[in-house]
Amino acid sequence: MMPHAQKAAIFNKDEARTDWHDASLWMVRKKRDFAVSEIPEWEFLREFASDIKMHTLSKLDDYLEAFEKAAIQNGAIVHWAADAKEHNDIVLSILNKHQAKKMVKSKSMLTEECHLNEFLELHEIEVIDSDLGERIIQMLNEPPSHIVLPAIHLKKEEIGELFHRELHTEKGATDPQYLTEAARHHLREKFHTAQVALTGVNFGIAETGEVVVCTNEGNADMGVHLTPVQIHSMGIEKLIPRRSDLAVFTRLLARSATGQPVTVFTSHHRNPKPAGEMHIILVDNGRTEQLGKPDFRSSLKCIRCGACMNTCPIYRRSGGHSYETTIPGPIGSILTPGIDLKKHGQLPFASTLCGSCTDVCPVKIDIHTQLYKWRQIVSEAGLPEAGNKTMMSIMGNGLASPSFFHRLGNIGRKLLRLFPGKERFLSFTVWTKDRDLPKAPVESFREWYAKQAKDAQ
């Protein structure tokens, strides 16, 4: 796996494109700023949402059981999946039971996390992602680069080109309206021939056993309505206690995600269709383990709005793919080290700890504090990201010793004075590749202070 820094450097080679990517996402952030500024009680809502989530997480076992009970009463079939493999096997068994060879799918980062598409394709099942952005990246055989805007890394010209190739639209067409229309026609046919539809879940309501899916295109609903069998894959942290709690989250979610007051569709799925089947798969896949870590527990409050990505100055300038995780950006960098520290341990370092993610997060996850804490764990595990442990402890002792410290500082400054052609002399260092070093002054503050103290006597 290529380090994030290296991927980011490659991304930055095309500076105009980096600027374009940064500006596209910054525009989303600005829309969000405007939308939230209209809500005087915004900070209160964030606090409230955070409390609801923390409460739910503190009794997750009870709420899961309540949810299951209510869902079964509604006529749904509830499955429990400990990990990605179990989840995928369950989906396959449902498809097999109905001898289905085609499934439409929408709005599910969880199935991305489980690599469901690849798995089903191995079993000769055709999976059609029906959300436009998801469909685009599926055609390109790429993972999403953003959890809400999966194809945000692509320019409309590139999408036009892709559609020309795959859907035979006019060459050179870039009009979003025209391209969307073409995709819609293409999808319609798929909708009619699929036997099973799968959606992700934004919220599961323990009180009623229903699942809530928030979308803008309505394709998730279309899939569910047109196929006899519906599957809802849901991470166990998606629960909220009551239906009345939902309003807090719908007010936060779309505003944070895209700056809309609310998503176009907020669909509640509760019962199977007459003669149909409704399956809900409750997926753990590392979530209980994260729940067991007090420092990182609150990362499970995430409602996947993507605001921390849009605001992150690093994400905007490196693109979602640079993280090589299903969930990229700040939240991904605190969720994934818990899954595989060796693989993702570098991600907590792909941050300046500026804290913008923490302030933007609608459920108040202290993301940058958790990034800091993951760094400590990476270091304790002896991974190279945190530097050589022995060296660090020698440095640490040095920093606690005034005489060592002062000598070191003075040597550093004097070296810089001795070699004025320092850029060239030191050009092998990372700092000086594109930056000069500060001009070293004749005397340090300490020296100045000592002198003036003496003069005063």
Binding site: T352, S379, M392, G396
Partner: protein
């Protein structure tokens, strides 16, 4: 009231003029201020790089050096944030608790403790203000652009408004990170430099002659890029402006 002055290590060595300005400003405002010469480092560079355990020694040394003062003032939101927030890993003795509570960034000290409402400062220049992140979102020296707190406040703005002749420019992105981030600046040089370039462009295109901030580390990073690219703009620590009497 006895004030202990803490000067971050890189400022001591590379930006003594900003440290001198801080010291002189405090004297000018009538403080009994002292620079304990045995001081070293707050431990942040190691800790942010993931080696909190190795920085314990410097944490304890910091406490020993400064516990006798009524206030500990530093011209760096970042170091202050580290002391206030991350010294929570030490045993919370009375000394540790006191040092954590009484360590303030220069701008907070001026406004919240000294409660100044005017300054004998003059700086007739167009200035761009960079809000350093740790001061901004860690110490809440200003309302970050993500939050909906009205009215929005900013200690650095308030202080700069006391300076005669100074004009602040309006930025497109009023509090985006400069890309320094300590260890980040060398771990992720490509983005670090790109972020710095973008910040400089914002200030420069709005006509700023000077970029100022509460943290010299951000300015050191920006200055490195400015110097390499020969951009006609300067950096200066806010203490130098507040202590300035330029005619």
């Amino acid at each position: 009231m006895k004030v202990g002055l803490f000067i971050p290590c890189y400022m001591d060595q590379f930006y003594p003029q900003a440290a001198i300005a801080t010291y002189k400003l405090l004297l000018k405002l009538g403080c009994d201020v002292e620079y304990p010469e045995g001081q070293t480092c707050c431990g942040q560079p190691l800790a942010n790089a993931g080696n909190e355990a190795a920085s314990r020694g410097s944490y304890l040394h910091f406490v020993t050096m400064f516990e006798k003062y009524d206030y500990i003032v530093a011209p760096s939101g970042s170091c202050v944030y580290h002391v206030r927030h991350h010294f929570d890993t030490l045993d919370q003795t009375d000394a540790v608790k006191k040092v954590r509570a009484k360590t303030l960034d220069l701008t907070e000290f001026l406004l919240d403790v000294l409660q100044i409402s005017s300054l004998p400062a003059k700086y007739p220049h167009k200035v761009g203000l960079h809000q350093s992140c740790h001061g901004l979102r860690g110490l809440h020296l200003a309302t970050s652009s993500e939050l909906v707190n009205k009215p929005a406040a900013s200690k650095l703005h308030e202080l700069l408004s006391m300076v005669e002749g100074l004009t602040l420019v309006e930025l497109d992105r009023k509090d985006e990170c400069c890309g320094f981030g300590g260890t980040f600046s060398v771990k992720e040089p490509a983005i670090s430099v790109k972020m710095g370039k973008d910040r400089i462009r914002d200030h420069f295109s709005k006509g700023a002659e000077v970029i100022t901030a509460g943290d010299m580390s951000c300015l050191m990073h920006l200055e490195g890029i400015i110097s390499r690219q020969n951009i006609p703009i300067k950096v200066i620590h806010i203490a130098e402006i507040l202590n300035s009497d330029e005619i």
